[in-house]
């Protein structure tokens, strides 16, 4: 089975995630888009693992999942706190830390 469709799918998912991060203002959506990019890269890793016939890529994918899970915990907590204090989940509103 050719690896190309998987890699194309991975690229499409990554691009969607990327555009989402850059264009959406809602923190939750941005967060989901980041997850989308992570999973796109996971897909690519697993595909390459398959192509090369060893487990390195799959191991890396597991690591990404674990880190992503941890990140979700911390990230959601931050978004919750920001929402509680500012009554808004817009990333553009949280722009106090600047020059």
């Amino acid at each position: 089975m050719s690896a190309t469709p998987f890699l194309v799918l991975s690229a499409i998912l990554f691009t969607i995630g990327c555009i989402g991060v850059l264009t959406r203002r809602n923190a939750i959506v941005v967060f989901m888009c980041v997850e989308l990019m992570l999973n796109a890269s996971n897909l690519a890793l697993v595909t390459f693992s398959r192509v090369n016939g060893n487990l390195d890529g799959q191991v890396a994918a597991f690591f990404v999942m674990v880190v992503a899970a941890a990140e979700v915990v911390v990230g959601l907590a931050i978004i919750m706190t920001i929402f509680r204090t500012r009554r808004s989940a817009s990333v553009d509103d949280a722009s106090l830390l600047k020059y």
């Binding site: 991060v21 850059l22 264009t23 990333v91 553009d92």
Partner: protein, 644 residues
């Protein structure tokens, strides 16, 4: 390094450790040092009630140990009188190893007695003199510090140890000249003394280094054995470097300018440091380094010239001053000039230099303390034109001062006669011109000292209505009496040639030079010159009434002498002004050149930063965009590399 047989004229042997009282040598230094440390660490107010007692006790105990050691040394054979004591290894760095060692020999023995003896008397005197000063405890701490440093200088068995003491006495001198630092003049004088002394210290430091590189050792015993092995040039340079050091410490021309200003310090300080002990350290250095000077005739000649010039220089200054302490300071310069002159004459003069140093220590300390007593009575007025007829008011001060006066002008049988006569004799034995200069110096000395006596104790009273002269308390008059007695009897040391025999193990046997006239005739000539000096003083000062303000219409010579023979003006023109201009130029270059470059660079960086910091917008999405841009750039670069 292998040692050659002993230098013949100077049989310095490796000092043996003495045992008995000699094992207490270090205590002589440690006691005053401890006194200073205790008073300084506890502070002025906490020690105010007993600091003067502690200060006196430490020095007097040191004196007692010195006295016992002296008699123990006296009981030994002449060849046995080199006692060494190694305390600990001071510096141990590769081939450079110096022990903290003490050397007790006839030379340091007499110095110990002078310093601790006169030091004790002046400590006792200070109890009375400084009674009303709120910082008396601190004063005694500094005095003790001085005594400890001076004893280190004298007892050290190597040049580095001498250097330690040398700097220590310099520090103590600085602290004590500026003791009344609230007076600007005192603070300035202290700084001047310190700076001028640093010039001399360069000579001392370089000399010490050169001794080590040349001989591989710094101990006197080691260097004396191999001194004649070194090259003539090296020895001459060494001699000149140590002469520079001696000029600084002993206020010899051309580094003489600080001594007159140093009179800003309390009078006991002038007596102890700037008359009896510290300023003679230069003479000590030259005499101690006799093994170098004996082999360096050029350096010896330089010492003689410096001594001769200074003895006339100081005497001339002394003639024109109205400040009683400055007259005595000029006189001190002049008398140390005599000592330097004698020390430069080699074995013919070393012993007499030390002999004059001792007698001068007695009579000059006596007169300085006497001057302090007079100032005490005159509400700290130092102008002799405001004195007059004080002999009736202060009989003890007058009589003791008179003993010192008779001693310094060289009236037999007082101490100064014997010591100065011997130096003039040795000077004539060396060179007629030098001899004549010393002779003239004796006449001028008689003139200015008689002038001082007449203006202070005789004539009409000239003091203001509100001043009520009175005799000083016992604490001050008793030291005066002791010193007066020593001024009268100091000449006994020469009895049977005792001084020369005593010092022979250190400086070699005395060499008798041929004189143009018999010694007795020469003594008579000296006396006639002295009488001439007294007569001139009587004719000019004693016979006429002394005006209360100094006359302004005076000859150029008087003007020159009043301004210290333009020594300060010369220093100012030659060193201070060019130095000032040089430093101002450097400062300008530093400000506009170096600082301009650094500040400009920093300024442009700052400007750039304030432009670039606008990138930090605070919007997460703009950061994300730049991360993406960076990632794209990295990918493009990787592609470019892999495709190429």
């Amino acid at each position: 390094m292998s040692y050659v047989p002993l230098h013949e004229s100077v049989p310095v042997v490796d000092p043996s450790s003495g045992g008995g009282v000699f094992s207490l040598l270090w205590v002589i230094i440690a006691l005053p040092a401890l006194g200073a440390a205790v008073i300084l660490l506890l502070g002025n107010t906490r020690t105010a009630r007993w600091a003067h007692l502690l200060g006196c006790a430490t020095v007097i105990t040191s004196f007692v140990i010195s006295l016992v050691s002296f008699f123990a040394l006296l009981g030994r054979g002449a060849e046995d009188r080199q006692i060494g004591q190694t305390l600990y290894t001071w510096v141990d760095a590769g081939s450079f190893k110096v022990d903290m060692g003490l050397l007790y020999d006839p030379l340091s023995a007499v110095f110990l007695l002078l310093i601790t003896g006169v030091g004790s008397l002046i400590h006792i005197y200070s109890v009375g003199y400084m009674e009303h000063d709120v910082r008396r405890a601190r004063f005694f701490a500094y005095l003790n510090l001085f005594v400890a440093a001076m004893l280190t200088l004298i007892l050290a068995d190597n040049y580095l140890g001498v250097f330690l003491g040398w700097e220590g006495v310099g520090l103590a001198s600085y602290l004590l000249i500026g003791f009344w630092q609230h007076k600007t003049s005192a603070a300035v004088a202290a700084k001047k003394a310190f700076v001028v002394n640093r010039v001399g210290d360069i000579g001392m430091a370089l000399g010490t280094m050169l001794v080590f590189t040349t001989f591989g050792t710094l101990t006197f015993a080691g260097v004396s054995k191999v001194a004649d092995q070194a090259g003539d040039t090296t020895l001459t340079i060494l001699g000149l470097l140590f002469l520079l050091a001696a000029c600084g410490k002993s206020a010899q021309v051309p580094l003489q300018s600080w001594l007159l200003d140093a009179m800003e310090g309390p009078t006991p300080v002038s007596a102890l440091i700037h008359a009896a002990t510290m300023v003679t350290a230069g003479v000590y250095l030259v005499v101690r380094s006799n093994f170098i000077y004996d082999n360096a005739p050029v350096a010896q000649t330089a010492v003689v010239i410096v001594g001769t010039v200074t003895l006339l220089w100081g005497a001339v200054i002394g003639c024109a001053k109205d400040d009683i302490k400055k007259v005595l300071a000029g006189s001190t310069m002049s008398q140390i000039g005599y000592m330097m002159l004698a020390a430069g004459l080699g074995p013919a003069g070393y012993a007499f230099a030390i002999f004059h140093l001792l007698t001068h220590g007695f009579f000059k300390a006596n007169m300085f303390l006497g001057a302090g007593s007079v100032m005490h009575a005159m509400d700290d007025d130092v102008d002799m034109r405001h004195y007059g007829a004080l002999r009736k008011m202060m009989p003890v001060t007058f009589l003791t001062f008179a003993l010192g006066y008779l001693a310094i002008i060289g009236v037999p049988p007082f101490a100064g006669f014997w010591s100065k006569d011997k130096i003039i004799e040795a000077a004539f034995g060396d060179n007629l011109i030098i001899g004549l200069a010393a002779l003239v110096g004796a006449g001028v000395t008689a003139f200015y000292m008689t002038r001082l006596m007449l203006m202070t104790y005789f004539g009409e009273k000239r003091w203001a209505e509100k001043v009520h002269p009175h005799e000083s308390p016992k604490a001050m008059t008793v030291p005066l009496m002791v010193l007066g007695a020593l001024s009268a009897l100091g000449g006994l040391l020469l009895l049977g040639g005792w001084v020369t025999d005593w010092l022979a193990p250190v400086v070699g046997e005395e060499v008798h030079a041929d004189l143009p006239v018999p010694a007795l005739v020469l003594s008579v000539i000296v006396l006639l010159v002295v009488v001439a000096g007294i007569s001139v003083a009587w004719l000019t000062v004693g016979r006429n009434a002394v005006p209360r303000t100094a006359p302004t219409k005076v000859s150029v010579f008087t003007k020159a002498a009043r301004s210290d023979l333009y020594g300060d003006a010369l220093n100012e023109e030659l060193f201070m002004r060019p130095g000032d201009r040089f430093v101002t130029g450097l400062a300008t270059f530093d400000r506009s050149g170096v600082d301009g470059f650094v500040d400009g660079f920093a300024g442009s960086l700052g400007g750039m930063s304030s432009t670039f910091r606008r990138i930090q917008t605070g919007f997460v999405r703009s950061y994300a965009l730049s991360v993406l841009g960076g990632a794209v750039l990295v990918v493009l670069a990787l592609l470019a590399v892999s495709l190429a």
